[in-house]
Assembly symmetry: C2
Homo-oligomer: 100 residues x 2
């Protein structure tokens, strides 16, 4: 049974937020998003940045894309990824603010 209260965050918003946040709760995905904060990056750039193998990077990018966090465009044999979920930038900023 879902809630029936007056709450400051609605159930739907909260669910979406949980989905987005869950996506961020992974070191590699966080790392990738951190790179994407500064703009579009190709898979190989991200791979080098995060120092992970290609499959792992592609997999996590697929996860992020499936949840609507990032999107991609192809240019020749390269694929550029970018952040499309604006929450991400703010949450990353939060992490930095909290720890630096």
């Amino acid at each position: 049974m879902p809630t029936s209260h007056d709450v400051s965050i609605g159930d739907d918003v909260l669910s979406r937020a949980a989905t987005v946040i869950k996506c961020l709760g992974h070191p590699l995905r966080l790392r990738l998003l951190e790179a994407l904060e500064q703009g579009e990056r190709t898979v190989s750039e991200l791979q080098e940045y995060a120092d992970m193998n290609q499959a792992a990077v592609s997999q996590q990018l697929a996860t992020l894309k499936a949840r609507g966090i990032v999107d991609s465009r192809r240019e020749g044999t390269f694929v550029y990824y970018r952040i499309v979920e604006p929450k991400v930038n703010q949450i990353l900023q939060c992490i930095r603010d909290c720890d630096v």
Copy 2:
């Protein structure tokens, strides 16, 4: 093999952040933390607030506690929970900022 780059968020910080964030990536836990933002709450208060059964609430509180997100103190038969991880407040604020 971990990274050896100059990155804006260190691996250790990033791992801790991922742990905290992963904890938030769950509707009920988000809801509970939202309630705890305003101060200490007992399990039964949280239970009513989130409209969930007692076991579910206790379980999620245990998860949050195990990860160092909240802490608790007992007073008679009541147990009061509170947020101890300061990131949480900022991240919740983020969620609201993004959607309201």
